[in-house]
Subunit: 176 residues, 2 copies
C-alpha cells in the first residue's frame, strides 16, 4: 500500500540528500516526492509517498525520519481527510486530423493546452494520480512524445492548518 | 542565474540519492527538483533547477551528471525555447467577509479551489514561478496557513520531442 507523509524540514543544502539516503539505506522505494519552500524561507515542505507493508511499517518510517536532525515535523496523512494532487506535462503527436480529438480529451480532463505546433501539442493537467493515468491512457493512441509528472502534494482538509505539534516547533524557532 | 536541466535516468532505487549526493558534494544548491516516471517504467525524467555562475559552470554540471552511471541523457534547456510550469497548493485563512475576495484572486490567476471550510480555503495553481509568487503575495494579507510548491517541470517547445541523442539511447535500450 502507498503511504503519504508530509514533512517539514530545515531548508539547508544536503537535506534532500539525507532524506534520499535514509530511504535508500532502509530499502524503501520512494513512489513520489515533492519538495518546495514554504512561506518561510527557512523551512521546506515535503510530500513523500512510499510503499509500506502495513501501518506498523509506516510508523517505523515516521520514526526514522524523526531521527534526522533537520526534520522538524513528520505526519502520516494516509488515513486522514486530505487533498492530494500532482501535475503532469505531456507532449502528444498530432496532425490536422487528430488535433480536434486531442482538444476534446483536454476538455474532458480540464487540461490546459500550453503549447501547440504542427505535429505536437503539450497539455498540462493537475489531479489525482488516477485522473492523470486515465488521461495518459486516452492519449497513448496518438503517440506520447515526452511526459513528466511532479511528485504528489498532500494537504489535510483540516482548516486548522499545520498540526498543533508542528505549530509549536515553528513558534520555538521564531517562525510566525 | 538559475539554470534548468532536463535529465533522463534509469528508474532504480538510489538514483535520487546519487543525484542529490552529486549536487551536495559539488556544493550546488538545488533550487527546484521534479522527478517522475515517464511512459516507460524503466525511465524517470527529472527537471532540475540550479544556481550557476555562468554557462561554463552549467556545462560542468551537465558533465558531472553524465558521469553518473544511471543517467541516460542530460540537456541544459536554459537558453532554449521551452515551457516551464510548477504547481502550488496553498491554504489561506478566510471568513465570511474575505471569502469573496479570495475567490476573486483565484479567478484572476485561474487557480482552482480544491477545498473550502469555515475558516480556510485551499487553492491549486499551475504556472511559472513568477505567477505563483504573485498569487502568494496577494494572498499573504489573509494569512497563509500552509503551502507547498512542486519542483518546476520544463519541456522544449520543439515538436521533435526527446532530443536526437537521447532517442538513440532509448533505441539502444530497446525502449520505443
Amino acid at each position: 500500500m502507498i503511504y503519504t507523509f508530509v514533512a517539514y524540514v530545515e531548508n539547508k543544502p544536503g537535506v534532500l540528500n539525507r532524506v534520499a539516503s535514509l530511504f535508500r539505506r532502509r530499502a524503501y522505494n520512494i513512489d513520489s516526492l515533492a519538495v518546495g519552500t514554504t512561506h518561510d524561507d527557512r523551512v521546506s515542505r515535503m510530500t513523500i509517498q512510499v510503499e509500506a507493508k502495513d501501518d506498523d511499517a509506516a510508523k517505523r518510517i515516521s520514526a526514522n525520519m524523526y531521527k534526522m536532525v533537520d526534520i522538524l515535523y513528520v505526519e502520516d496523512v494516509t488515513h486522514k481527510d486530505n487533498v492530494i494532487r500532482e501535475m503532469l506535462m505531456i507532449k502528444v503527436s498530432t496532425d490536422n486530423t487528430t488535433r480536434t480529438e486531442i482538444i476534446q480529451i483536454a476538455d474532458i480532463f480540464t487540461a490546459e493546452i500550453i503549447d501547440a505546433g504542427i505535429d505536437a501539442m503539450t497539455l498540462l493537467i493537475t489531479g489525482t494520480q488516477g485522473k492523470c493515468n486515465r488521461m495518459i491512457n486516452m492519449l497513448k493512441q496518438y503517440g506520447i512524445v515526452e511526459m513528466q509528472r511532479t511528485g504528489a502534494v498532500a494537504m489535510l482538509r483540516d482548516s486548522e492548518g499545520v498540526p498543533e505539534g508542528f505549530a509549536q516547533v515553528m513558534t520555538e524557532m521564531g517562525i510566525h
